[in-house]
Amino acid sequence: MGTLRLDLTVPTRSFDVQVELEVGRETVGLVGPSGAGKTTVLDAIAGLRRPSRGSIEVSGETWFGKRVHRRPEDRSVGYVFQEYALFPHMTVERNVAFGGDGDGLLERLGIASLAKAKPAQLSGGERQRVALARALARKPQVLLLDEPMAALDPHTRGRVRSELRLLLRELGLPTIVVTHDFLDTAALADRIAVLVEGQVVQVGTAEELISRPTNAFVAELAGGNLVHGTAHLRRDGLTEVVLEDGHVIVSTDVAFGPVGVVIHPWEISIARSEPEDSAQNHIRARIESIVPVGNRRRVRVGPFTAEITATSAGELGLQESETVVATFKATATRLTQTG
């Protein structure tokens, strides 16, 4: 029950998209560069695009297979399109009711007060919630989200991402989330599949992809920092995380309890003394290693890896085992709930 099984080949103009995946009651992130075939996979599951071979099964029912190609309206997917594809001529209420009984969903998603508004009057975050409500009104067996964060402005992203993560967990549907951003995926998904030119190059948890990337592309994409700690909400609305090694950092993501903190190495800068700047996080620690990567240097400071230019490293005269300050903004961190 509640399992989506995929084994597909979908031809596109430049290459074949090949995906084999089993999605239980969990959220799988499909991440990769644009043009990798991510949306093609969603379209094939929804029945908007016909694979050249393979099968799609949902809870034992065949949606696509030998001599079977169900029409989109005869499948049961909740598809949240990129840019949301809300019907501009209908109110929020009618948009949601188009797919089925939307009662209760408007309240559940906190958009009941917008029932009579038209999509053009809504903010990006509100539109996303309407699109989710509309997709869920169909009582789908599978949920597909295409770049759900892309149409949002940066200052609503963090909040919307936290809300979406909670909702997906509550729903417990087989869900595939497409994004091009690894940190978004890490925050939303239980497992991540990395798609490059139509091929799945690695499937695993964010932690596995970061710590044991199987190829250079995954290393580059995930190539981030993942440290663990315990989170609690501060009065000012930021989340404070006490890391396992005792360091304390703050994040704009909202989470509670055991978490993973993800941060890109290029978001971290290094100084000799604590700078007076707007960044919330200053970690004083020893340089464990300095590894050259082309014109950059990967500098390991305490639990974090920073990536700075070779020029900066030279100007600062950084040496292994000296103590420096690693600085990054609270907005550059992503929290993944681990418990």
Partner: protein
């Protein structure tokens, strides 16, 4: 200088004949002339035949345009081009073609005779002529209107469980409504003014097949003021359709232009 003079010449040339229609006889007299038997009969014939022809064009043309706009199939552009041929034909040729197809001695003449159906020189002939001449105008505009509908909205409707008819009626038609309305108005105007095909295929029998344009031609020798009055009516109706269309387009672009639908920052 030259540009300004050209503009003045063009403007005068286009508007002078229209103004002349109203300037020759006092406007009140024109209105009175519309009460004349010939004018009244022609108005009734025109309204009836145009309404039926237009309803048929909308009913058949709208789903056809939707199909041609949304389906990708081999030979699609050939089919679209074929439907546009009547646009570039002289209406007289359309009249001859209709006669050759549906006339008593035409292609389907024997079959229609056997069924006891006479089309030539009846009101049905007027309706066929008007529909034939105006339908490409509607199809062209309607295809463009449906092509402009965002694919993802159609796809979204289907994933939400809507079958083809529901997608057509509740999503495609309402979203294409502006373009469909404009195409419909232009086609209607073209149909009301139909002359060549009608006079060849349906003749000019007062009270039966004599439409307003045919009445103008008939009254040219008999009572020029009636011809003027009907012409004035056309100018007014035509201007009303044009102004209505422009006002409608402006209103749409003001309230729901695509840029307004693009993601905006928070309210």
């Amino acid at each position: 200088m030259f540009v300004a003079a050209s503009a003045a010449i063009a403007f005068t040339f286009l508007l002078l004949p229209l103004a002349a229609i109203f300037l020759r006889v006092p406007v009140l007299d024109l209105i009175e002339q519309l009460g004349n038997d010939v004018a009244r009969d022609a108005l009734l014939v025109s309204l009836k035949t145009s309404a039926i022809a237009h309803a048929a064009v909308l009913l058949v043309g709208t789903p056809t345009a939707y199909l041609l706009a949304r389906r990708r199939f081999r030979g699609r552009s050939l089919v679209v081009t074929l439907t546009e041929i009547p646009l570039v034909l002289p209406p007289a040729v359309a009249g001859i073609g209709l006669l050759a197809a549906f006339g008593r001695f035409g292609l389907l003449g024997d079959e229609l005779n056997a069924l006891g159906i006479q089309i030539g020189f009846t009101q049905l002939a007027v309706i066929l002529a008007v529909a034939f001449v105006e339908s490409p105008f509607y199809l062209r505009g309607a295809i463009a209107a449906f092509e402009a509908v965002d694919d993802n909205l159609i796809f979204a409707a289907r994933t939400l469980g809507a079958g083809p008819w529901r997608v057509f009626l509740r999503v495609a038609v309402p979203l294409a409504a502006g373009g469909l309305g404009a195409a419909s108005a232009l086609a209607l105007a073209r149909g009301l003014g139909e002359f060549g095909a009608t006079i060849i295929f349906a003749g000019s029998l007062q009270g039966v097949t004599q439409t307003l344009p045919l009445a103008i031609y008939a009254e040219l020798d008999t009572d020029f003021d009636v011809a003027l009055a009907i012409s004035a009516l056309f100018v007014v109706v035509g201007a009303a359709i044009l102004i209505g269309l422009k006002a409608f387009t402006w209103a749409r672009f003001d309230s729901t232009s695509p840029s307004r639908l693009a993601p905006s920052t928070s309210r």
